[in-house]
Amino acid sequence: MELVYAVCVGFMSACGIFLMLRGHTFTLVIGLTLLSYAVNLFLFASGGLTIGAPSVLNGSENYADPLPQALVLTAIVIGFAMTAFAVILAMRGRSDLGNDHVDGTEPFDRLAAEEKS
């Protein structure tokens, strides 16, 4: 189970980082969302993975660490708010700057310019 979980988290963060390396706010937002999903799963696993165990002590030996779950809840709430802000900022940037590139101007694309001419 640990292997599958780790591969999933790793793949998701890899996708997130790949999308974030593109220069447009739309892909950046999607990439950030993927990365924050990966972070949430990662935090969740930081207390160790257990199956079929209660999250709060009830006298039994086998229990799941409750703290990472609390941390994940906080992280989800904060991540959600931040994503909402990022989306609004991206829209504002698109309308004020006229394009959705993070630098505010599209970089000069030699290939596209040659094709046009």
């Binding site: 207390g47 931040m82 505010g104």
Partner: protein, 503 residues
């Protein structure tokens, strides 16, 4: 428990409640009432911070257990000399910023005062907290307030700089969570004192994971502090935002420095067993390079606000040097210099706002323009601040830099630090004199515009500028307190001590 026992949490609670109150209709419709309430609240915060300062000096470290849950299970706020000093600094800075903004900068958009209050809440919380995850939460509080403050008033440049700033910090927050998860996985706790205790007991196969978590944390704090490879966002962000916000942001980089100090200077410091001082081999070259690159950018700056932003980067480098020297004496010097550089840079940003206003279209760029209506007083203040920022006597910049140079005793370190710090001072001298000459002397004709600074704006700048000579006159007091802070910081705090103090 009487009220004085709850004093530690007041610097977090007051801005929070004031910010919420400002959103209610009776305040949100009247800017005058908002100004009065926030200025009153900030004066109260300065008083509380000073009371806390004296209390920590007399009675030692104060620990406040939230909800009376004892340390590893609940969240604690720890007020030691260093954190209280920083809270004091943020309160004074907040007061000056709000006074300055009350002259009209708060009119350019909605919710200026509530946002400033939320930002102060985040900053104070980040200084006071004794729990790593709580630190993350307060970082987010101060960041989301700063995102909105930075583009307050709007404008293409601000939006564009803000896109960089916001997305970089969002990535930083994700990395922060990765680092915290990693550390929690091996240490099983997020309380600073408890973490420091358990680092010594790690088994050998957990060392590498913990190390990667700690260094990831260094990258995150380095991003907030504008440490070398991740400092590119700073000049544009600080130079494009409004003057009071830029002044308040002068303390934001210091939050990053403060966290590096706490986590990598102390928690992973001398007592961390196998992982002792893991960040120092990285910090040392980065700190020196930050000074060098910052100083070169200072020379290349084309406007006063960009120049001042680059001076912030130089001061970040200087502070990182004092962290990497890693002695009580160096920390003392660093804490003194931190107070000085934050206040001087903030005052310069406020002054740049006035200069920009009075020069019309030329703004604060170093070009020939009409002379300013109030060139006399602006020029005098500029000269004072320049002396402080360069580090010339008689102001506190000189004392701060002298303390730092004095604290470097090893010849192998001195050979790098002395030339860089003195050289960056020389470069600041050249750049600031060039700035002063072109702003105040290269003028064509009289300015006919009647745009003059409001008296309260001058009062705000005067409040900050006045602290610089006071830090020299009462230099003994300040440096004694800085030494107390450095000693408490370097001694660290174990969980047992923490719980004893909490009782």
């Amino acid at each position: 428990m009487n009220l004085i026992d709850h004093l530690v949490i007041f610097p977090v609670l007051i801005p929070f409640f004031v910010a919420v109150a400002l959103l209610f209709p009776s305040f949100s419709y009247s800017l005058a009432r908002q100004r009065i309430l926030t200025i009153a609240a900030n004066i109260l915060m300065v008083v509380i911070a000073l009371v806390l300062l004296l209390k920590v000096k007399d009675q030692g470290i104060q620990v406040y257990a939230l909800g009376d849950w004892s340390a590893p299970f609940g969240i604690v706020l720890v007020a030691d000399a260093f954190s209280v000093l920083m809270v004091c600094l943020s309160a004074i800075l907040g007061l000056a910023v709000i006074m300055y903004a009350s002259a009209g900068d708060d009119k350019s958009g909605a919710f200026f005062h509530p946002l400033i209050m939320f930002q102060l809440m985040g900053i104070n919380g980040a200084f006071l907290t004794g729990d790593a995850f709580n630190l993350f939460v307060f970082f987010e509080v101060l960041l989301i307030a700063s995102y909105a403050l930075m583009m307050h008033g709007g404008g293409k440049q601000r939006i564009q700089a803000n896109i960089h700033y916001v997305f970089l910090n969002l990535i930083g927050s994700s990395l922060f969570l990765f680092a915290l998860g990693t550390l929690y996985g091996t240490l099983g706790t997020l309380n600073f004192a408890d973490m420091a205790d358990r680092i010594q007991l790690l088994s050998s196969n957990e060392l590498l994971i913990t190390k990667s978590g700690a260094l990831l944390l260094l990258a995150v704090f380095g991003l907030k502090a504008a440490m070398l490879p991740v400092h590119f966002w700073l000049p544009k962000a600080y130079a494009s935002t409004s003057a009071p916000v830029a002044a308040l942001f002068a303390i934001m980089t210091k939050v990053g420095i403060y966290s590096i100090w706490r986590v990598h200077g102390v928690m992973f410091g001398d007592q961390a067993g196998e992982l002792a001082n893991i960040a120092l081999p990285w910090l040392w070259p980065i700190a020196l390079l930050t000074i060098a690159i910052g100083a070169i950018s200072v020379l290349a700056s084309q406007s006063l606000r960009v120049l001042c932003s680059n001076l912030v980067i130089v001061s970040v480098g200087t502070l990182l040097v004092t962290i990497s020297v890693n002695t009580v004496q160096a920390s003392t010097a660093g804490i003194y210099y931190l107070l000085h550089s934050t206040i001087a840079c903030a005052a310069m940003f406020l002054l740049a706002g006035l200069i920009q206003l009075q020069r019309g279209k030329a703004e604060d760029r170093f070009v020939t323009a009409r002379s300013m209506p109030q060139a006399g007083i602006l020029g005098f203040t500029f000269a004072l601040l320049a002396i402080g920022l360069i580090g010339m006597p008689p102001l506190s910049g000189f004392v701060g830099k002298a303390l730092i140079l004095q604290s470097v005793t090893k010849a192998s370190q001195a050979i790098w630090i002395w030339p860089l710090i003195l050289g960056s001072g020389l470069i600041a001298l050249i750049a600031l004199s060039r700035a002063g000459t072109s702003l105040f002397w290269r003028t064509t004709g009289e300015n006919t515009s009647a745009l003059k600074g409001h008296p309260i704006q001058y009062l705000a700048i005067g409040l900050l500028v006045g602290i610089l000579p006071l830090m020299v006159i009462f230099g003994g007091l300040v440096s004694d307190y800085a030494q107390l802070a450095a000693e408490q910081l370097n001694a660290g705090l174990s969980l047992q001590q923490l719980n004893e103090v909490a009782k």
